[in-house]
Amino acid sequence: MEQMQAADGTPLKRSLKRALRRQKLRALALVAPLLIFVLITFVIPIGNMLFRSVENQIVENTLPETISALKDWDAQGGELPSDDMFTLLYIDLWLAQEQKLHTRLGSRLNYEVSGVSSVFRKTGRRVGRFDTDIYTEQFTELDPAWEDPTTWVALFEDDAAADALQLTARTWDRWSDYLVSEDEDPAAEDIQDFLFTALHFDLSRAEGLTEGPPILQSAAEVAGSFKTVNLKEAFADADNDWADLELWQTLKLYSPTYTPGYFLNSIDMQKSLDGIEMQPANEQIYITLFGRTLWMSLVIMGCCILLGYPIAWLLANLPARKANLLLILVLLPFWTSLLVRTSAWKVMLQQQGVINDVLVWIGLVSNGDRLVMINNQFGTIVAMTHILLPFMILPMYSVMQTIPPSYLRAAKSLGATNWTAFWRVYFPQSVPGIGAGSILVFILAIGYYITPEIVGGTQGVFISNRIAYHISSSLNWGLAAALGTILLVIVLMLYWAYDKIVGIDNVKLG
């Protein structure tokens, strides 16, 4: 059979395909701005946040030599790491303090163990004054060329030498990378003590170095007999905690690049040498807060349904003029600033506030025992119910508007009582509106932050208040990210459960 052809003579199939592809491309181009916007402002930040909650590269990046050597150290053996480890730590810390990274690591580890922050700060100040200059002196005495950075540059261009001096070669690479990143020339900078320390470390272990440049060979011969520095003592002298097992155990515990530590912390657990354990009872807080957040959000949602349903019903059933006025009354607070409304509740609810004043004035409450209605859960529930009420009323209203009044009349004409007519005929049709409003209110409530902060006191605060604290105050972004991730997962799970039980198709916004 002959192929169908388009007007220009190409086969119809191909022509059709081309047209379709063009259409698809045009459609993509039309949604592209939104797609890019969503990607940049939503997907990437959330992905970034999820990543932060497990990311722990800082330990290994700051102390690479120490961490790789720590793998072979038995943390439960009850013995401090060997002297070699202190040499590696010295090299790592020297480079870290030069780049001002050591205090960052200190702050990171301080989230796990109190006091590490100052250990790193103190040691960072002292590490440049350790007595390692004796290595520098001894090498330069042997051959003044050691002092010349060009000797070093030449030395590590030679692969054989770099193979023989592994630690020194790696250290030299890190040093020259750092200098290059600072726009400086490794061939022009003074050779520092820590490089000689690394060199001595390698040479005193290299037996019978027969290859390589003569300067290296002659140094290798005598390096074993050099005067040495006890860096273990030097560290213990800078801060006694270095002679303490706990610090080393912490380092080992938090050395992996990815850690479940933040997630464990956010459910009141912690890593320990014996595995995972609960936090001490006086530091457990997050499970309580998650539970409270969920429970109070449910209560707020319930209050909104109870208060919102009759209003939505009125809105849907009153004559248009009255309904519009009522709608404006619903929307007016919706348009008012959140902070203003919350502060207004403060004025209303406080002990010297409007409600208490009225109660005292009409004699229901004596002046001595005014009601406590704020800085507790009650205050949070009242204020948040008020703030979230429009989110419940509006979807309910738009669903109820679509329910024809004739159904109720039909039910009544067939003999139903008012209640039966409402409960069996009207209510089931309004359920999608309740569903939509409930999801909206619950999800908004679960992430609320500013209202609980202002009126919540100690018992009425939510998990988001802790997330905000860790973001802006304690700077423990990893923990904040883990808490946020858990909150996100809870919401998704509840959404899934809702879909299974009620069915998401039963949710209508109008």
Binding site: R104, N282, E283
Partner: protein, 370 residues
Amino acid sequence: MKLTKTLFATTALGAAATLVVADGHMAGDMTLVSWGGAYQASQQKAYVEPYLADNAGVNAVWDESSAEAVAKLRAMNEADNLTWDLVDVVASDAIRLCDEGLAMEIDHDELLAPAPDGTSASEDFGDLIVSDCFIPQIVYSTTVGYRTDAEGWSGTPDNICAIWDTENFPGKRSLEKRPIGNLEWALLCDGVAKDDIYDVLETDEGQAQAFAKLDAIKDQVVWWTAGADTPQLLADGEVVMGSTYNGRLFSLIVEQEQPVEMLWDAQVFDLDGWIIPAGLPEDRLARVKDFVRFATDTQRLADQSKFISYGPARASSAPLVSTHADLGIEMAPHMPTDPANAENTFLYNYEWWADYRDDLDAKFQAWLAQ
């Protein structure tokens, strides 16, 4: 086609606006970060306005973000887009910014002006230079104010332990919702000697002791988070006594004439000052250095106390403290640094808190939630 034209025009305008902003720093926009409110106003009047009068090309832009300065600077650092030139922070934040490498380490003697008598800046500021990155401006203290018309009181509070004396001074109290300061006061009022407090607080038993002491008044406490809370609560009569910054109490008592008095006992000394963000480009750094040198000299720091009752951080500024710019009253007796007020002060241990704040904050929050 009209639409297209409008679109083009808008885009072109937008592009032009971006250019102006991008070029703004060269034109002399200097972004200063501070706390807003009366404190920022005092800085504006005491040294920003005089500086701008002498440097017509420079324009100062305020950003009231000091409360979130550490988090924002970290975010700017990660995004590699530093928009701030000079940041006002409390000392503990300065230490953290320095630790994180987000603030620039400075040589105080080289950067800052010496005192009029030639004393070097580092000596003039003395111990108040608590970090290599920190340029102190003022000393403030967190202290207690109380209502003079509280019902059912016998006597008037004369020391910090009045907070715990619910028998003689019944009524609600407001305390800051953080462990710092409160734990020290608790131990102090539980009989621990002032010099031993941090040693005691370092141990589990000491922490338990402090929390137990706070337990005694827990149901009487309203916890505040913003400096304006306590003055408001005191003015409303919601609490009968409460802790806050001395400058806030000063304006409540002197400017708003409320029936409130303040206690100068065991007030917690703290510092506020500038840091220069790390990684400023050369031209902006040079301008900021010039401004800081001017803004922290002896006369300027003394001038600031005309507008707010915080003590100048330089020793040489103290004798120059004069009268309030509007009210005309002597400011010296309202300064936390005034000898009569500073008879029994409490020095806040920055290093100690840098180590223990994460741990104790978790414990404090867990205690609050119980």
